[in-house]
């Protein structure tokens, strides 16, 4: 009972905590809001009154960015590459995780886990130079060219997402009760039917959050996208934004509008799916 009164006494938050936290909210959001606001201003107004609220509202910056800076192309490229690579990662990671959880070859399973852990330990930057050489010469090894096609990003993205995805999905599958699968086997399902008709649907919530996390990582990836594609028509939005930073460095409104094309889809998805995104991203880092 005494503990209860302790809780009751603490009903009201002291205001200074909220003042400090609101200060940090301001720091978190202000750069974004400032860029958003100025993306609707004319160039002259940004230079003369960068702080002031919008005076001559215009969406010309957005129209210009869309028409002359190829934002529409970059947006489509980012979308295609991210969605295919993330889907491939999730399906492969789910199959691997299931084999590791249920198919009993202890030694082999252990070895596979160890090798996958390597990718989490060793920084990806270390393999950039040989990866680039390998992608450029892919034809010599496999008989077809991937450099300067979507595949030059899809393959590495799908690969780099695997290790963490397997860990997260495996943790989810280990907690899955075996009874349903046993009943399905009694009913005559083979292992493939079992996986695609029983296990996959059960794990769907975990798979969706792994997909979102991979999608976000691929959408935001810059280094490989910059390195493994040279054709401008295949450029992703992350590389586009970095290029605008240099190209449009005197056209502030245009730069902010182009940047907003990259920010707005991500922020909208984040606001809708925040819990799934936060849980997925933080779970991945703890497993690693």
């Amino acid at each position: 009972m005494k503990l209860m009164t302790g809780r009751e006494r603490k009903q009201k938050d002291s205001p200074w905590i909220h003042i400090v936290l609101m200060g940090y909210v301001l720091i978190s959001l202000y750069p974004l809001l400032w860029a958003f606001q100025n993306s609707f201003k004319r160039h002259v107004d940004i230079i003369s009154y960068p702080f002031a609220p919008i005076k001559n509202f215009t969406i010309q910056n957005y129209i210009d960015a869309w028409n002359t800076s190829n934002v529409n192309v970059y947006l489509a490229n980012s979308f295609i590459v991210s969605i295919i690579a993330s889907a491939a990662t999730v399906v492969m990671a789910a199959m691997t995780a299931y084999a590791l959880v249920r198919i009993p070859y202890k030694r082999i399973n252990q070895a596979i886990m160890t090798v996958l852990l390597l990718a989490i330990m060793v920084p990806g930057a270390t393999i950039l130079v040989p990866l680039y050489a390998f992608v450029r010469n892919f034809e010599n090894y496999f008989g077809f060219q991937i450099y300067d096609t979507y595949l030059s990003l899809i393959f590495p993205y799908a690969t780099f997402g695997l290790a963490i995805s397997v860990m997260i999905i495996k943790a989810f599958m280990s907690a899955m009760s075996k009874e349903l699968e046993e009943a399905a086997v009694m009913d005559g399902l083979n292992i493939f039917g079992l996986f695609f008709r029983i296990v996959f649907p059960i794990c769907l919530p975990a798979l969706v959050s792994v997909f979102i996390v991979n999608y976000l990582n691929n959408w935001n990836e810059f280094i490989m996208a910059n390195l493994l594609l040279s054709k401008e028509s295949l450029r992703t939005l992350a590389v586009g934004v970095a290029a605008f930073k240099d190209m449009l460095n005197t056209n502030y409104g245009g730069l902010f509008a182009a940047t907003m094309y990259s920010v707005i889809p991500v922020v909208v998805v984040y606001v809708i799916l925040q819990d799934k995104i936060i849980d997925g991203l933080t779970a991945g880092s703890l497993k690693g």
Binding site: T126, L128, V129, Y132, V241, Q274
Partner: protein, 293 residues
Amino acid sequence: MNRTFRNPAAFLVFIIPTLLLYSVFYLYPLSSTVMYAFSEWDGLSAPVFNGLDNFKRALADEQLYRSLLNNLAFTGFALLVQLPIILGSAILISEVRRFSGFYKTTFFMPAILSTPVVAVLWSFVVFHPEIGLLNLILRGIGFDHWVKAWLADDHTALLSILVANAWANVGFYIVLALAAIYGISKEIQEAAQVDGANFFQRAIHITLPMIKPIISVIVLLKVAGSLKTLDIVMVMTGGGPAGLTDVMATYMYRVGFQYLESGYANTIAFIMVIFTVILTGITSFITKKLEEV
């Protein structure tokens, strides 16, 4: 039952796509890194084995030392500036009853932005010489002589990147720490409150000691992360002015893709891995010792 699961063919079908992709796009390049680290190679013609020559060159390479020191500046900033902000914010959020969800969502938000977006926001909104907030504020309060091109100035370029990087990263770790604090049983906190412990006493004597494991994880992730820093430096300054903000990875990138010395670039990559292993090893030893106290 067991016959269904003891099925080598099924095992192979489930595992092979992953292993194939992983071997081709990760293990193979990784093994090349190790091999070419001991070769002279321009990335196009055949590599020539040259023993430890690249490593001798690295030992005498001043730019590599400078890059390593900058990596360590990232480590130091993460542990001395970011960590207190992370723990302080997490503790504050855990104290409030209202708006805690709102704080969590907004603090985390910078973590979902791509590095080029972060670079645009900070290079233009904050550090820009003409329309940047920092200079506008300095002019506004009459400190005109402090106004400068923050990212182009020898003395402030690295610090500016460190601040932008911290802004982009901190929220993620606040959420990690917050989850751990919510895991502490309410009774302990309430018992301390009943005994008259104030906010600071509870934070120092109860909350922080009880989340030691997650603090260790954060420290480890920060140390490992600071050594592999690459894209934020590349997009904000490209290592400039005059290589002053180079970190090991940006220097490696330049050596490999602009100077076309792929062999030596792999040596730098190799050294990066060694440093990561050593530094994370030391860190995990220290954090384990501290956790036992």
